[in-house]
Symmetry: D4
C-alpha cells in the first residue's frame, strides 16, 4: 500500500525512539516509510526524500532528531506538507537543545513540535493520524476508539493501584 | 461561511499575540472563530466550546496560553481534532513555562507546539492551513504561493541590506 | 473510616513516588484514598473523582504528575478544596517541566506546589495534615511530635557523623 | 477583628507584589496582618513573628521573597501552621532562584509554593481562604461565588474578543 | 576587491547586530559581502549563495540568526569552508535557543559558535581574520596591533575608573 | 587542638561530599569539627552551633546542603564569621536549586558560594585556609606549596597523556 | 593609607555595579584600590596587578565581570589570597553565564562567588570585611553594628508597611 | 613531522573526550601534539605552551575543558592563532557551565565553540582542518571526500533501518 507518512530520523541511533512512531501508525493501519537522512551530513538526500514524498502522495512527514535538531526545520523549508518534529534527547543537554531547535521556527515555516523522546515519537503518530482523520471517517472512528481505550487503560491501572 | 478553525486564548490579554493567527488565516481565506476560555477559570466552557466545534465541523483547534499553559492540553483531552498550541510569554519565565506545559504532553494526547509568542501564533495559522491543504487543492496552491512570496520577500530585504 | 485525603496520580508509573504520601498519612492516622487518573487520557474520570470527593467529605486533594503535569491544575479548576501538586521527574527534563506546569497557575486557581519527586510526595502528606491540623488539636499535637522527632533524628545523625 | 492570616515579605520593595495578597483577603473579609521581616537581616524578628502569630491564633502564614528566598522555609522550620510561599522576581534570574529556593523544601518541612510574582501573591490569598474554608461554610460559599464570578468574567472577555 | 568573507543573516532585522561584523572586517581591510537569506524561507537561495561563494573564492562564511537558528548549520552542510555562527537574541528565550541551535552540531559538520549578539558578531570578524591570518602575514601583524590596542584601551579605562 | 573551622551539613547523606572538606583541612593541619544540622529540621540546633562556634573561637563556618539549600544563608544570618556554602546535587535539578539558594543572598548577608559538589567541598577547605592564611604565615607557606604541587601534578598528567 | 582590598572589574561598563563594593568598604573605613583589567584583553596587566597587590600587602581581591567571566578565576590561578567573584549581568543570559563561569571552579583554585549584580557587589565588600574581621576586633565590632543596623532598618520598613 | 595543531585539555580525565580530536586529525594526516594544562592549576605552563606553539609554527589550538571552562579563553587571550574550544560535560550541570564559559567571550578575543562533549571534540578536528584547508588543496580535497563519505554512511544506515 502507498505510504501516507514518511518518517525520517537524523541518525540510525534514533531508531529506538522513532520506531515507536512506526508501531503506533501500524496500530492505525496507516502505511508509512521509515528511513535515515541527516540535515547536515546528507542535505541533498534530505531534500530529495521530501520531493519524492510529495510526488508519491505522502501526506505528513515526521522528523526525529537530537542536539541541534535542524532536520524537521530543513524539511519544512522544502515542502508545504505538514511536518511534525520529534526532539530526541541525544546530547548532554537532556533534549532541550533539540526541543528549542525544533520548536522555535520563524514565522511562515511551522514545525509541529511533539514532546521530547518516546512520548513525542508516539504522539507524532497520533497527530499524523489526527491530521489524516480530518478527511477520513475510518481514521476518525479509530481515533475515537483509541481515546476510549486509553481511558479504559487508566481505569485498569487505577484498580491495580487502589488494591495495592 | 462556516468556521473551519477555532482559536481559543486563555485570557483576553493574549489577544495581541493570537490576533496574528486570525490575520494570517484571513490571508488564506480560511473562516475561523476566535474566543476566550480558560482551562482553569472556565473549564466547563472550554469543554463546551470543543464539543460545539466538533459538531459545527471545525477541523483544527488552535489554543494560545501563557504560564502553566494547560489550555491546549485540556482541549486535546476532549477531542480527536488536531490541536495546535501557542505558548505565550506572559510570566517572568519568558514563556519557557508555557512551552513546557504545552509541548510535554503524555503519549496518546498530542498537542502540536509552535514557537513561543507571535512567531508561533502566525505559524499556528500556517500549520492549520497545511493540515487542511492535505485535502484542498486551493489551499495547496495558496501555500505554494505563500512560500514563493516568502522567498521573494527575503530577496527584497537582501537587496536593501546589500545596498546599505 | 471515611477518607479525608484523595491522592490521584497521573499514571501508575508514578506509584513509587506517590506511595510516600500514603505512608506518611498513615503515620498521622489520616484516612485516604489513592487512585490513578490522567488529566489527558481520562478527563471525565478526573472530574468525576473530584465531584465524588467533595460529596464524600474529602478535605484535601493531592495530585502527582510528570512532564506537562496538568493534573493538579485541572483538578483545581473543578473544586474549591485545597489542591496540592507534586511534580514528578518522569521526562528527560528532570522534572522542571512538571514543576512549571504545576506551580505557574493563573490568578484565582491556586495549586500548592511541593518539591519535585519523593521529597514533595512526603511533604504533600505533611502539608495536608497541617491544613487539617488548623481545626484538629489531635493533628496539631501529632505535628508537634513529628517536628520534635525530626530534630531528634538530626541529632542522632550528627552523632554518627561526628564519631565517623 | 483578630488576624487569621499573617503576610510577611522579605523587603518593603516586595510590597507592590504582596499587597495583592492583602487586597484579595479583604474581598473574602478575612482579617490579616502584613509586615516586613527578612530571613537573613532580621532572623530573630522573623522567629518572633511566627511565635506571636501562633499565640494570636493566626491560621495561615504567607511569605513573599525574592532571590535566595529563604523566608518561607525559615518560617516553616519554626511552625506547624501551613506556610504558603510566593517567589518574587527581584533578581536578574527572573524569579527562578526564588522559585527553587521556595519550592525545593526537604521532606518534613513543606512550603506550599505559588506562582512567581503577582499571580502567586493573589493565589496565596485564595489558597489561604481554601484552607480556612475546609472548616468555615461562609468561606466555602464565598469561594464558590468567586469561582462562578471568574467563569463569568471569562465570558465577558470572550464577548469582547469575539466582537473585536 | 574580491570578497573574502561572506556574511549572511537570516533576516534584515538582524542587521543591527551583524553590521558589527562588517565594521570590524573593514578595520582589518578585509573585503566582504553582506546579504540576507533564510535557512527556512529561502533555502534554495541559501545554498546558491554558498555555491557562488565557493566559486568566487570566499574563504570564510559568517552566519547570524536567531530563534531556531539553523542558518549556520545549513550552510555548513553544503560547504567545506569554515562557517562561523552568531546566535542572535531575537525570541523571548534570550538567545539560548539560537545558541543551542548553532553550537550543538553533529560530528562531521562543525559550526564555530561565537557569543550571543553583538559581542559574537564582532568576534566573528576577528575570528575570520585569525583564520585568514594563518596564511597572511599582513593580517597577522594587524591582529597583533589589534591585541595591543585592546590592552591599551583597558589601561585608558582603568585610569578613568581609578580617578573617578 | 581547638577547632578553627566548623563544617555543618544539612543531612548525613551529604557526608560523601563534605568529607572532602575535612580531608583537605587535615592536609593543611587545620583543626575542625564536622557535624549535621538542618536549617529546616533542627533550626534551634543550627543557631546554637553557630553561637557555640563563635564562643569557641571558630574562624570560618562551612555549610553544605542540597535542594532549597538554606543552611549557609541561615547560618550567615546569625554570625559575622565568614560563611562558605557548598551547594550539593541531591535533587533532580542537578544542584542548580542548591546553587541559586546558596549564592543569591541579599545585600548585607554574604555567603561565599563554591562549585556544586565535591569540587566545591574541596575548595571550601582551600578557601577557609586562604582566609586564615591572611594572618598566618605557616598557612601562607602551605598554600604556596599546595599551588606548586598542583602545577606539578598537571605536569605529571601531561607526561602521561603525551606518551599515551 | 595602604589598600587592603583590590577591586578589579573586567570593563569600565561594570563600574555602576562594582562601585557598590567601594561604597560599602568606605562605610567600614577599609582602604581599597579600584581599577579595570580584563582577563582576556589585558592578561599581562591582570597578572601584574595581582603580583603587585601581594607585594603591597593587599589581603583580599574582589573581581567583577560579566559573560564568560574568567576574571576572578584567572586571578585566583595566580595568587593564594582569597578571591571574591561578582558575576555581572551584562549579556543576554541574565548573568547565568557569569555565575557559572565564576562559581564552577575546579578543585584547588577556589573563587568565592557572590550573588549576581549589585547585591553581590555589596556582599563582596561585607565578605571582605568579614575575612579581615577574623583578625581585627575593630572590624568585628563594626560588623556587629552593621548587622544590628540592618535588623533595625527592617523594623523601620515593617512599620511603614504596617501603616500603609 | 611538525605539529600543526596543539590540543590542550584541562585535566587528564578529559582524555576520553579529547582523544576523539586526535583520532580525526590522524584520519586527515594532520600532525598534532596533545597535552594537559590547566588554566587554573598551571597558568604559567598554559601560557608557555601557547608561546611555544606560536614559535613552532602551530596553526590552530584546540582546548577542551569542563565546569568553569576558562582554558580556551585564557589561551585566546595570549595568542592571535585561532582557538577552538570544546566544552566538556564534567560537572553536575551537563556541560552548560562549560559551554557558557567557553562561548560567551567578550568582543575582541574570540573562541570558536564546538558542541559539548565528543561531538564537539570531533568537530574541533574537522574545523581545524577546514581552517588549514583554506590554503592547502590536499586538505580541501580530503574534506570533500570526508563529506561524501558521511553522506554515503547515512545511505548505508538508511538501508539498514529501511530493512529493519
Amino acid at each position: 500500500m502507498k505510504a501516507k507518512v514518511l518518517i525520517i530520523m537524523g541518525s540510525d541511533s534514533d531508531l529506538p525512539v522513532m520506531e515507536e512512531t512506526g508501531k503506533l501508525l501500524e496500530e492505525f493501519n496507516v502505511p508509512y516509510e521509515i528511513t535515515v537522512s541527516s540535515a547536515h551530513r546528507s542535505p541533498e538526500r534530505t531534500v530529495k526524500l521530501v520531493r519524492d514524498a510529495e510526488k508519491k502522495g505522502v501526506e505528513v512527514i515526521i522528523a526525529g532528531a537530537g542536539a541541534a535538531a535542524h532536520l524537521a526545520g530543513v524539511i519544512a523549508s522544502h515542502t508545504i506538507l505538514p511536518v511534525i518534529g520529534v526532539p530526541i534527547d541525544s546530547s548532554s543537554l537532556n533534549g532541550v537543545d533539540a526541543l528549542y531547535s525544533t520548536v522555535q521556527m520563524p514565522p511562515g515555516v511551522p514545525v509541529a513540535a511533539m514532546a521530547i523522546g518516546k512520548a513525542g515519537a508516539k504522539n507524532a503518530a497520533v497527530f499524523a493520524v489526527q491530521i489524516m482523520g480530518t478527511k477520513d471517517p475510518i481514521l476518525t472512528s479509530a481515533l475515537k476508539d483509541f481515546k476510549k481505550k486509553m481511558a479504559h487503560e487508566v481505569l485498569k491501572k487505577a484498580k491495580k493501584v487502589e488494591r495495592a
